[in-house]
């Protein structure tokens, strides 16, 4: 996020710098988000949350991360070692790619491409691959069940997600995220959410499902599957999945901000701070949901998708196309 004033002809420099900056951004934010989640949970339940380590417990996540790194990595007997360790890395890696086309500010992006949205949608599928591999390779029946859930859930929910996103793409006539941002005005009523509330709703619900957040956290449903796909992971293996979950939350919230909430534009002082504020507002809402709702059942989840989100998404798309 520091390099943006350098407008060098070589796109490569921007790309490399962008990836480095994004790695720092994602890492730092994921750690902050873990802390934030615990604080939100605490306050909703009228507890303080973490408060011993550092001011307001801010260093708690760092301490936990240090603990996780220090832990022994174990692997169950009979597990496929290569796939087993590939899975957590695969869960975390695509996150960087996902961030690249996202414009954080007017000039604050690492990759300006016309098909940015397509890139994001394509690489978002990687997440489910990692969950599938994790559950499958860990030689654990609960893990397998979790993986099966993860796959069918993610595959099913990608369709309405696409439909919601397509509606926006049709409206703007572009897959370029910067263009989509600039197509919206600085004021809330000029944002796409005002024009496409249904698409936003579908997108947000699907985003919850795609990131396996409550009430759609079935692949890791603790009370049913012990820990689902990451049952057998210890130490940083688990830590990476955990971080990936938060990183994915940032991704989907960022995309939602770009597509629906006017991106980095705000009524006053447009800039990356507006972008961050919107992203964090969405993430807070996701946390709020998690600490309020019970978990839906698996078949209900899929029914919700096929009977409601997809027809609604299609209808929305049709209307959009007709109007445009």
């Amino acid at each position: 996020m520091l390099q943006t004033e350098i407008i060098v002809p070589a796109e490569l420099v921007r790309l490399v710098l962008g990836i480095v900056a994004l790695a720092a951004f994602v890492g730092a934010n994921a750690i902050v988000l873990v802390w934030l989640e615990r604080k939100v949970a605490g306050h909703i339940q009228r507890r303080p949350g973490p408060f011993e380590v550092g001011p307001y417990g801010l260093l708690q996540t760092a301490a936990d991360a240090a603990k996780l790194i220090g832990k022994q990595l174990t692997m169950p007997a009979g597990a496929d070692a290569f796939l087993f360790w590939l899975a957590p890395i695969l869960a975390f890696l695509p996150v960087f790619v996902l961030f690249m086309p996202i414009p954080f500010g007017e000039n604050l992006y690492s990759l300006d491409m016309d098909l940015g949205l397509v890139l994001i949608l394509a690489y978002a599928g990687f997440g489910v691959l990692s969950l599938c591999l994790a559950g499958w390779s860990s030689h654990n029946k609960w893990g397998l069940l979790g993986a099966a859930r993860a796959v069918s859930q993610s595959v099913a929910y990608e369709i309405p997600l696409l439909l919601a996103v397509l509606a926006i793409a049709f409206m703007t006539g572009s897959f370029n995220l910067q263009a989509i941002t600039e197509g919206q005005g600085p004021w809330p009523w000029q944002w796409n959410v005002a024009v496409q509330p249904l698409a936003f709703f579908i997108y947000f619900a699907c985003a919850l499902a795609e990131t396996n957040r409550a009430p759609f956290d079935l692949p890791e449903a603790e009370s049913e599957l012990t820990a689902g796909f990451h049952t057998e992971y210890s130490g940083m293996g688990f830590g990476l999945f955990f971080l990936a979950e938060y990183a994915n939350m940032i991704v989907v919230s960022s995309v939602a901000t770009v597509l629906f909430l006017g991106g980095w534009q705000g009524p006053v002082f447009s800039g990356w701070w507006w972008f961050l504020a919107k992203v964090y507002a969405l993430i807070l809402a996701m946390m709020w949901f998690r600490w309020t709702y019970p978990r839906v059942r698996f078949d209900q989840l899929l029914n919700l998708n096929w009977k409601w989100f997809i027809p609604l998404g299609l209808a929305n798309l049709l209307v959009t196309v007709a109007v445009v």
């Binding site: 909703i44 339940q45 409550a214 978990r295 698996f298």
Partner: protein, 383 residues
């Protein structure tokens, strides 16, 4: 059938063994939703349960045999440990059985004290169940809200009993300590407080569409099934069986109060859920009436048995209504200082027996919901 013999006795005898299409999986004894060390062997086809079988005994502590080796008085503290959530009902079952056997009169005030504390304890048990059940269904916050209210109950019960969970408060012929004014005043405040909290419970959980979808129509128990397995308590009442020991075989002074036995016909997890919430309200109603009419007097009978006392020969059965159902104590005395035989009827044991039959063909997630709706306390089942 797999050629390799793996697993323990129960796994091997869960025949026929795994096939190519199904998965045999152990739910428990360390599974988060079995609330303790219950183990259920489940045969899954996808996420559907084909068969399942509970395996018990991981916390078997020989409570019944301990009854035969200890004196009548010395067995008292065991009672709080059988079912730690509704310890006072078990206290009452034991004391009531001994009193019935020896014909000990309990003073009026002691009866009121017993009703007040036991009903309060029932509320705390239901509150804990409520939170834990919602936790099973995946919502994390309600259990802490329930604990807020339960904390007040525990603070209150700590005043007369001195403990917070495993109470050993009742004695033959009364209770061990009188109720203080602080307790009575606190209880008087607590009743409207909890009534004010219940709408919040309803808004947050009962009316929640996700919860309703997880409970309504799930785990249907027919009255016939309940009767066959001897299910009691909210499980039976949720299936339309109007049976509450407090009403059916009135003991103590329950017949003096105006209260209802909530009964629902649906027989699903939601009806069991609603029954328990309704019972909280009914318990509050009983407490309110008992508070208004509690007489002064002794809290323990003048001629209460001394520790080395021995009851006459004979046998007796005494049952009370616990939070989970009918708690029964069958007691045989041979005239010595230790009982000849003690049999504890734990309601959870019968309620759990239902599960294997009721869970056939349901989804794994529904099995969790059904298991939670039974309100199991594993130490009580294993005894």
């Amino acid at each position: 059938m797999s050629e390799i013999q793996t697993g323990d006795y129960y796994t091997r005898h869960f025949s026929p063994g795994p096939s190519d299409d199904t998965l045999i999986i152990n739910m428990g004894p360390q599974h988060p939703s079995t609330h303790g060390v219950l183990r259920i062997i489940v045969e899954l086809d996808g996420e559907y349960i084909l068969r399942c079988e509970p395996v018990l005994g991981y916390v078997h502590r020989m409570h019944e045999h301990m009854g035969e080796t200890k004196s009548y008085t010395q067995y008292l503290p065991n009672m709080g440990r059988v079912d730690y959530l509704h310890a006072l009902a078990w206290n009452w079952a034991w004391c009531g059985a001994v009193e019935k056997l020896a014909g000990i009169e309990v003073p009026e005030r002691a009866q009121y004290i017993r009703v007040l504390t036991t009903e309060l304890n029932r509320i705390s048990s239901h509150l804990l169940w409520w939170g834990a059940y919602i936790l099973d269904l995946g919502a994390f916050s309600p259990i802490l809200y329930a604990f807020q209210d339960r904390e007040i109950i525990m603070d209150l019960l700590q005043i007369p009993t001195g403990s917070r969970l495993t109470y050993c408060y009742f004695r033959f012929g009364g209770v061990s300590a009188d109720l203080s004014d602080a307790f009575l005043a606190g209880l008087k405040d607590f009743v409207p407080y909890l009534r004010g909290r219940l709408p919040m419970y309803r808004d947050l959980v009962t009316d929640n569409v996700i919860l309703r979808k997880r409970c309504e129509g799930i785990g249907h128990f027919s009255p016939e099934l309940c009767r066959r397995y001897g299910a009691t308590g909210p499980v039976a009442r949720g299936s339309g069986i109007d049976y509450d020991v407090r009403r059916a075989e009135p003991y103590s002074i329950y017949d003096r109060f105006d209260w209802e036995v909530p009964v629902l016909e649906a027989g699903d997890a939601m009806s069991r859920y609603l029954i328990r919430l309704a019972e909280i309200e009914q318990s509050l109603k009983i407490i309110e009436q008992a508070l208004a009419t509690i007489p002064s007097g002794d809290f323990i009978a003048k001629g209460a048995p001394k520790p080395k006392w021995a009851p006459p020969r004979g046998e007796t059965y005494f049952a009370v209504e616990g939070a989970r159902g009918k708690i029964g104590v069958w007691l045989v005395s041979d005239g010595t200082k230790t009982p000849y035989r003690v049999k504890l009827r734990a309601p959870g044991y019968c309620n759990l027996s239902l599960f294997a039959e009721a869970a056939q063909g349901v989804l794994l997630a529904d099995a969790v919901s059904i298991l939670g709706s039974l309100d199991l306390v594993i130490p009580e089942i294993d005894r």
